[in-house]
């Protein structure tokens, strides 16, 4: 057997990798205090290498500020553990009744690692606010933005041309599909402070829209990763028609429905232009019939949140009613709707909408692992009992 195989199949490697995983998870927990869960997750568990720096908030920072601890990230450790497990099975294990428990545990573990990877790559989370008595057919993904051109000329529907904010790199020219327009990003801030100046702004990058009429200015800000904060993405976008530049607009995801619409017009056609949280549209509408928020008697401690909803699908055969409440989500059309939050004095309900094609995998894998452990330890226990009996 080649030494490489031997190395990858060794139990020693397993133990070392597991120990490193504990270290990684520990620091990945500590750093959540500063970076929030979402960013820490990216930093530690969805990476190959991570460096922990001694936090400013800790005692003795002025003496230990230089301390940095590099460690393998989640992808690297996960990958190595997987390789270790798979080689070990090829090299050492034979599938026998006695080893069946271990096989189940290990297979379940492989499945779990795969499912976690799939979730990282494929799952999509967004939020859908619905007012009582109102309907919604889209949800917002608060961690990504899109630049949209909306053509409202058709009486029955709007046409939305969307450009993901990731493509808004300064200087690059992008044609807006199915329109005569093209754009060039002048500046793009992933997070910014947007405000109104008292007087017209000097050296304004924008020459059209609200930036001019309302004296709006944007200054870049550091990206935030906090759990309950939102990045204010802002862009200065130059829009051109076939005959040349039409103007430069300032668009930002804080300039939402509360602000006047900004419009680009060319050749007696007009498009609304906006930067907004990426919207995911659905072929159905969710109507919120009633939201209720119960409290424990004599206190303000919440006891239950629930939303009575009716779904209107384009295909009426799929219409249905549902009650969404704590621990009881609605699974519908490959999506899952959770009662996440509420607003506007209990008249708006906010659902978390999750699309996770691999959601069933962890269930299978954990079933395997649990069963495997029971089999494995059960056999050990029986052996132990027998030994006790013979020795007694």
């Amino acid at each position: 057997m080649s030494p490489v195989f031997k190395f990858f199949a060794s139990l020693r490697l397993t133990v070392v990798l597991l120990a490193l995983s504990i270290v990684l998870v520990f620091f990945g927990t500590l750093d959540q205090v500063h970076y929030g869960i979402w960013h820490t997750q990216k930093l530690y568990f969805q990476s190959f290498l991570v460096v922990w720096a001694y936090p400013e908030q800790f005692p003795l920072y002025d003496k230990l500020f230089w301390f940095h601890l590099p460690m393998p990230g989640g992808y690297l450790l996960g990958g190595l553990l997987m390789a270790n497990l798979v080689t070990a099975h090829f090299v050492r294990f034979k599938l026998t009744a006695k080893k069946s428990g271990i096989f189940m545990i290990h297979f379940g573990l492989i499945l779990l690692l795969i499912s976690e990877l799939l979730t990282n790559l494929l799952s999509q989370e967004s939020q859908m606010p619905v007012d009582e008595g109102g309907r919604a057919n889209y949800s917002n993904a608060f961690r990504s933005n899109e630049l949209v051109f909306i053509d409202r000329s058709h009486p029955e529907h709007d046409t939305v041309h969307s450009i993901p904010a990731g493509l808004l790199r300064p200087g690059e020219r992008i044609d807006v599909p199915d329109t005569p327009l093209s754009i060039r990003t002048v500046r793009y801030f992933p997070n910014s402070n947007v405000g109104r100046a008292q007087a017209p702004v000097a050296n304004n990058l924008a020459d059209s829209g609200s930036a001019v009429t309302m004296n709006i200015v944007a200054t870049p800000a550091e990206k935030t990763f906090a759990e309950n904060e939102i990045n204010t993405a802002t862009a200065y976008v130059e829009v051109s028609g076939p005959d040349g530049v039409l103007g430069t607009w300032l668009v930002s995801n804080v300039l939402d429905e509360r602000f006047p619409v900004q419009e680009v017009s060319y050749d007696d056609r007009a498009w609304e232009i906006a930067l907004r949280f990426t919207r995911i549209y659905y072929p159905f509408e969710i109507e919120l019939i009633e939201f209720s928020h119960d409290r424990y008697p004599g206190t303000d401690i919440p006891y239950n949140f629930s939303s009575q909803v009716r779904i209107h699908h384009q295909n009426p055969a799929k219409n249905q009613q549902a009650l969404i409440y704590m621990n009881h989500p609605l699974r519908y059309e490959g999506l899952t709707f959770y009662q996440a939050s509420f607003a506007n004095q209990d008249t708006t309900s906010i659902f978390q909408v999750v699309r996770n094609p691999g959601w069933i995998l962890p269930y299978i894998s954990v079933l395997l692992m649990g069963l495997g452990m029971c089999v494995q330890f059960g056999m050990h226990f029986i052996k132990f009992l027998k030994k006790k009996k013979t020795s007694a």
């Binding site: 927990t29 869960i37 997750q41 989370e125 409290r295 008697p297 004599g298 949140f305 649990g370």
Partner: protein, 637 residues
């Protein structure tokens, strides 16, 4: 000899029980028990006054008794009676616990060696306290120890004030002696007062005196409704268990809206007058009337719960269990020196008895909370349950191994976790209600229970590993047989612990998937559980692969203690994530102490064999030397 030992043990147990349940009498003949059973709605649930008295005292003074200036000890309910009905006397009781009174900077407050102060002691310093309080950082996490103490004193004073105003308005002794008259004249004023108000607003002639009296009543009771802590006035029948109760102030204000005065209000007033006058007969009669009207209006299930909670409070099963755990540990320790058989047997049966008492406490809490099979609802109950799980495992391994080791360590874990629980109880009602997301009996009964049993197992295994280190390094008696059984126990329990941690973590994942749409979110508590599972996996792989020797495996088991403590408490200290309920002040200090102590034990177990005093260690040392000696000449060849 055996019989003598059994009798001696039995006497000790009886001593513990008699000390706990010594009957207390009230010379003046007030039916305190009946009073303590009166219902009140507090923190969203209906409980006896007794519980409010105890929880308030725990928050103020971190204990459930009060010393009067003349050196008598009062039960919590007696203190509550004085607080609400004879405030002028209660103000002299030392109920405010101040950890470091001389560091407060309140000139003239601190008395040497005294950590308890009365309301009257603190009163001269109110303005200074308020000034200090206004300077405290509003962000709790950034407060210094000094700031926290200032905040604690302020909060305590506020709570004291609010609980005091629970049963009726507070004023001079004269006012309290005439409460019923006050209510009568208030009722008599309402009609003419409203009339005068209407006339005033219409611009007509009105009686200014009547209006002034009416308004001053209104102001006073409005203030009372904002101050009174307890909701003692149940809604009128038919009763909805989810309906809001009223506090006295609210019930009095209702009269101004044309409702008749709730009889509970008058009854509490007569109670107070009777108590102040020393008239036990009418006091007891009024208490009985209150009880009867509660019984008439409410379903039996609620009454029984309230009455049972009072009994449960007085039984203090966890306090008794704590003392029994100490006794068990002492018995086993003596058994290693003399009379092993008889003492081991008594220790085992005592462990069973303690387990039953511990179980009774758990089941009683479930009954009161109306949540069967939900063992853990907050940090406090998790501590209780970890101890229970460890005791259960201890009973099981003792059944198999019969050498006292399991009983000794189970009692240590049981005792320590109950101590932890005792300190966690200082924050108030331990039977508090659960936040909406957590409120799911099925998941609480499965995920939380299983994962907490995992904690029990890891702690018990870690305790056994510590025993191995201590006995091996310092003692002489540790031999091969004991080591074999110890390592067998540790192995078995870690198997159990890993299985439970894994299954618990998985169930948590499923719960998370059901409620937030993700199986795994790298939340601190989830991560903690994952770390325990990985620790178990490391131990098992190291053992199966023969990677570590005896000492290495034991060191790993002690590591399990650190990781479990982190997962249990450390993650709550971070104050982030979905599970960060119950932020424990001062927890960081104790967690650090625990971790350092465990590191010391790890160092101990990893000491080279030549420092071991036990037979087992010395044999190992000899073997090592022999191997070196045998290897050495060969190298020379």
């Amino acid at each position: 000899m055996k019989k003598v030992i059994y009798i001696l043990v039995a006497i000790f147990v009886l001593l513990i029980f008699s000390r706990q349940y010594a009957p207390t009498t009230n010379e003046e003949g007030f039916d305190i028990t009946a009073f303590s059973e009166l219902p009140v709605q507090d923190g969203g649930r209906i409980k006896p006054l007794d519980s409010v008295a105890r929880n308030t005292l725990l928050v103020l003074s971190a204990r459930q008794k009060v010393e009067t200036p003349d050196g008598r000890w009062l039960q919590p309910i007696e203190w509550l009676m004085d607080l609400t009905m004879r405030p002028e006397v209660a103000d002299t009781y030392r109920v405010f616990k101040i950890e470091f009174p001389d560091e407060l900077g309140l000139a003239g407050l601190a008395e040497p060696g005294q950590r308890y102060y009365s309301f009257n002691d603190l009163q001269p310093h109110f303005s200074t306290l308020l000034e200090l309080y206004s300077k405290v950082d509003p962000e709790p996490q950034r407060r210094s120890a000094y700031d926290r103490q200032i905040v604690k004193i302020n909060d305590s004073l506020m709570r004291y004030h609010r609980v005091m105003h629970s049963l009726h308005p507070i004023g001079s002794g004269e006012r309290l002696d005439r409460l019923v008259d006050e209510y009568q004249s208030f009722q008599a004023t309402v009609g003419p007062g409203m009339d005068a108000l209407r006339r005033q607003q219409a611009g007509d002639d009105y009686d200014a005196n009547v209006l002034r009296r009416f308004i001053s009543f209104g102001d006073d009771y409005l203030k009372l409704s904002q101050t009174a802590h307890m909701r003692v006035i149940p809604p009128p029948p038919p009763v909805d268990p989810m309906a809001d109760w009223q506090n006295v102030g609210e019930a009095l204000l209702d009269v101004m809206q044309g409702k008749s005065l709730n009889p509970f209000v008058t009854s509490y007033a007569s109670l107070t007058m009777a108590y102040r006058a020393g008239d036990s007969e009418s006091f007891n009669r009024t208490v009985r009337e209150l009880q009867q009207s509660f019984e008439a209006d409410f379903p039996a299930s609620i009454e029984n719960r309230v009455y049972f909670e009072r009994v449960f409070n007085s039984l203090q099963p966890f306090g008794v269990a704590m003392q029994l755990y100490v006794l068990i540990f002492v018995l086993v320790c003596i058994s290693w020196l003399r009379w092993p058989e008889a003492l081991n047997k008594s220790a085992f049966w005592l462990l069973v008895l303690t387990f039953i008492i511990h179980t009774f406490g758990l089941v009683a809490r479930m009954y009161i909370q109306e949540r069967y099979f939900v063992f853990v609802t907050n940090l406090y109950s998790s501590a209780i349950f970890v101890g229970w799980g460890a005791t259960l495992l201890g009973v099981i391994i003792e059944k198999f191994f019969k050498n006292g080791l399991g009983a000794a360590m189970a009692s240590v874990v049981g005792f320590c976790t109950l101590i932890v629980a005792h300190h966690l109880a200082m924050s108030g009602d331990t039977l508090e209600l659960m936040r909406a997301v957590l409120d799911s009996n099925f998941w609480l009964a499965t995920h939380v229970t299983v994962i907490t049993l995992g904690y029990s197992a890891v702690f018990l295994a870690g305790a056994l590993a510590i025993l191995f280190a201590v006995l091996g390094v310092f003692g002489r008696r540790l031999n091969h047989k004991m080591v074999r059984s110890l390592s067998g126990m540790v192995y078995g329990i870690i198997c159990f612990g890993t299985l439970f941690s894994l299954v618990g973590t998985i169930l948590g994942g499923i719960w998370a998937d059901q409620s937030w749409g993700r199986f795994w979110g790298w939340d601190p508590k989830e991560n903690g559980a994952l770390m325990i599972v990985m620790m178990g996996a490391i131990y098992l792989h190291a053992r199966w692969g023969g990677i570590c020797g005896e000492r290495g495996l034991m060191a790993l088991a002690i590591c399990g203690n650190i990781i479990t403590a982190w997962s249990w408490f450390g993650t709550n200290l971070l104050g982030v994530g979905l599970h960060s309920y119950g932020f424990t002040e001062g927890g960081f200090y104790w967690l650090s102490v625990f971790v350092i102590s465990q590191l010391v034990f790890i160092g101990l177990v990893l000491l080279p064999w030549r420092y071991w005093r036990s037979d087992f260690g010395r044999e190992k040392h000899l073997k090592d030397r022999k191997r070196i000696l045998m290897a050495a000449p060969r190298e020379e060849v």
